[in-house]
């Protein structure tokens, strides 16, 4: 194996000092080009810049796409109504590839290159956990829409907030009584093998135990897995309820294979809609889901008792009564999660107004103003429903929906109360230095 043709001979194209200097000069020229300092003298009229860490590619891509649509709709609504503190809002999107390492880089890029006011929008828990230290280091307020318990656990830092969607620990606690009373007492859990799944693994057993039910088996599946049948024999025969929550591009395969394995002769199924987000529940092979139950943060299908705010929100985001994109019934949304983007942006607006936010130098004030919030009323800004906010743990608490698959759609059969999901705080971010 000789290098006959010299493909690896670097000496042929050695970098000379002259080229290196030319490159440096060009780079420096770009950095001082007019576009980069456009607003430095006119801060009052400059837009507020929100860095959106989006899962455009990787296993979270379906969520990323709908988070972007919801964000665009919310920002348009905010700007049409006059913006924040009289300034327009501008969203800058960077793709994190649903990867924790890349996520941290993106936060750094927002802080040092785009110089955004805040960073926002992350869903996948491992990306949040990977990016949080970078946000803390840059003293960059970081508003996530992730659902995981990591923010509320107070294991992250003072700059990380989750004001738009309830965390998993609270969701589980509020739904456990319903599961134990209506689905069954012997529960087998199937969950993805990373942080988000571990929240389910850790908080469901105690929540069910308090209701006299028990978890008899726990099956962790890597989120990049593409074939699932091999895991199903681990489900004990005496299982009364399969509690499933899967994420990633193969969720449809997961549910299909579950159907092939059990057919109609199945245990009760209670799933997080994550197992079917962005997927049509009427896909061939999913008939066996009829009669099973799902958690939904916000209902995918329009419900008869939808509030005017919920209707306006659905119209603004552009989803039809079946939760699919208007005009493309095959493009199913991630309705159960993406409402959190809309609500988080309105929380940011409220906090920035309370803080009299002017620019990056007011980031600490913004953190304190967010921590001072306590309640979000049901309405156009919070169409999913009312919420309380605990400033010590940076987490909001709202109602949860349990929906039943009936006649090819999801009908809400039970709504939890906010109090059902409250728990003792595990720490206090406000004691940390800013």
């Amino acid at each position: 194996m000789t290098d006959k043709n010299g493909f690896f001979d670097l000496s042929r194209s050695a970098l000379t000092r002259r080229t290196a200097l030319k490159g440096l000069a060009a780079g420096a020229g770009l950095a001082v080009a007019p576009g980069f300092v456009r607003y430095s003298q006119a801060q009052s009229s400059a837009p507020i810049k929100i860095g959106f860490q989006s899962h455009r590619t990787g296993i979270g891509a379906a969520y990323g796409r709908w988070y972007e649509k919801t964000t665009a709709a919310a920002v348009k609504a905010i700007n049409d109504a006059g913006g924040i503190n009289g300034r327009q809002v501008e969203v800058i999107i960077e793709d994190d590839g649903t990867d924790p390492g890349r996520g941290a880089e993106v936060v750094g890029k927002f802080a040092s290159q785009h110089k955004t006011d805040i960073v926002y929008g992350t869903l996948f828990s491992h990306v949040v956990i990977g990016s949080a230290p970078a946000a803390g280091e840059a003293k960059m307020p970081y508003f996530v829409v992730s659902e995981g318990h990591h923010v509320a656990s107070t294991k992250l830092n003072r700059y990380v907030f989750q004001p738009g969607i309830t965390d998993v620990k609270s969701q589980i606690q509020s739904m456990a009584p319903w599961i134990a009373a209506n689905a069954g007492k012997k529960v087998t859990q199937i969950f993805p093998d990373f942080a988000f799944g571990y929240d389910h693994r850790d908080y469901l057993p105690p929540a069910l135990k308090a209701q006299g039910a028990e978890v008899i088996a726990q099956i962790a599946i890597p989120p990049t897995e593409s074939s699932f049948t091999k895991y199903f024999p681990q489900i004990p025969a005496e299982t009364e309820v399969i509690y499933h929550v899967m994420v990633g591009p193969a969720v449809l395969t997961f549910v299909k294979e579950l159907g092939e394995f059990y057919g109609s002769n199945r245990p009760q199924l209670f799933g997080f809609i994550d197992s079917l987000e962005a997927t049509d529940i009427n896909s061939p092979g999913l008939e066996f889901l009829d009669g099973s139950h799902f958690w939904e943060g916000s209902p995918r299908y329009a419900q008869p008792d939808d509030s005017p705010a919920q209707k306006a929100y659905r119209a603004a985001v552009g989803i039809d009564d079946n939760g699919a994109a208007v005009g493309d019934p095959k493009d199913v949304s991630t309705a159960a999660h993406m409402f959190g983007c809309w609500e988080t942006l309105y929380v940011v607006k409220k906090a920035m107004e309370d803080a009299g936010y002017k620019g990056p130098e007011d980031r600490a004030k913004l953190v304190e103003a967010t921590e001072a919030l306590t309640e979000f009323a049901d309405g156009p800004e919070h169409p999913q429903g009312p919420k309380t906010f605990n400033g010590k743990i940076h987490q909001c608490f709202g109602i949860q929906n349990i929906s039943k698959v009936e006649g090819g759609r999801l009908n809400v059969v039970h709504k939890t109360k906010i109090e059902d999901g409250l728990y003792e705080p595990e720490g206090d971010y406000t004691t940390q230095a800013l």
Binding site: M1, F7, R65, S226, A250, T253, G263
Partner: protein
């Protein structure tokens, strides 16, 4: 679940994996055997096969079997054509230099992957299986389509074997593999053979992907696992040996199925990798490979 049915399920899952793996790895093995090119972009040809299968099957309305059959024929042909162009534009210009082609195929991997991301998008999209018959066993249900994958793959493997051993084209390929300089001296158009083999290798990966896509969905990153497993299979079986590739694919597929059903999928991957290390230490030419001359 009792041991018997549990083992049956494990074996079925393992055979499906083996069937797809054998086709994919055979493509990789052929390309290396004949051209001495380590094709790192092989997994991307697999992915292209799946993505094209989605595109073709959604373009054709009517019974899902129609779209699927069209995809089964057209997708590998298109992928073969793309491979042919890549061979002409890249590999030939590097004179099939072993080191340079590794780097070049790594580049091709990223180019194909990013093009798929740009034009197909980041979503995982399902392809409807041509039929969805569920075989009801006393202990569990199993997809009839999955069983048909095993049969289809076996047929394709036999066909490839017949082409390689019973036809003039196969003879020419084997002659080129055995000694390309002498083959050229005897008037065999070696560069044409190379182009054909590269296209054939990519087509085998594509057809494997079309078979698997109704049960696993098309996604732009789906080429990574098959690439890794194909390398494992080819190293264990011996580069350039058809028999070795098939035996190693069945071995790896079955052990993967059985170990991941009874223990954990991670352990299955650990054992496969360990096996590769052992083969490299004790029998570097692979189980069925011959020492290079």
């Amino acid at each position: 679940m009792h041991f018997g049915p549990h083992l049956l399920l494990a074996a079925l899952e393992g055979l499906v994996t083996s069937a797809v793996l054998a086709l994919t790895a055979l493509g990789l093995s052929l390309v290396f055997g004949v051209m001495r090119v380590v094709n790192v972009a092989h997994g991307e040809f697999f992915m292209l096969g799946a993505v094209l299968a989605w595109a073709i099957s959604t373009a054709i309305s009517g019974h899902p079997a129609l779209g699927f059959l069209a995809a089964l024929v057209l997708a590998p042909l298109i992928v073969g054509l793309i491979a042919l162009v890549a061979e002409r534009l890249v590999l030939r210009r590097l004179n099939y230099n072993p080191e340079a082609t590794i780097v070049a195929t790594i580049g091709m991997l990223y180019i194909i992957q990013q093009l798929a991301l740009t034009f197909y998008g980041p979503e995982a999209r399902p392809v409807e299986p041509p039929f969805s018959y569920r075989i009801l066993l006393p202990w569990f249900g199993y997809s009839g389509y999955k069983l048909s994958i095993i049969a289809a793959s076996a047929l394709l493997l036999v066909a490839t074997w017949l082409v390689l051993t019973r036809t003039k084209i196969g003879l020419i390929m084997r002659a080129t593999q055995y000694d390309s300089e002498t083959a050229q001296a005897f008037g065999i158009p070696v560069t044409k053979v190379y182009a054909g083999v590269f296209a054939l290798g990519a087509m085998l990966a594509a057809v494997a992907a079309v078979l698997i896509v109704p049960i696993s969905q098309a996604h732009y990153l789906m080429g990574q696992d098959p690439l890794l497993l194909s390398f494992i299979v080819v190293i264990i079986g011996g580069l350039g040996s058809l028999r070795g590739t098939v035996v190693a694919a069945v071995l790896i597929g079955l052990s993967d199925g059985i170990i991941s059903v009874f223990f954990s999928p991670t352990l299955a991957k650990i054992i496969a990798t360990l096996l590769v290390a052992m083969v490299l230490v004790f029998r570097p030419q692979g189980l069925f490979g011959t020492t290079s001359r």
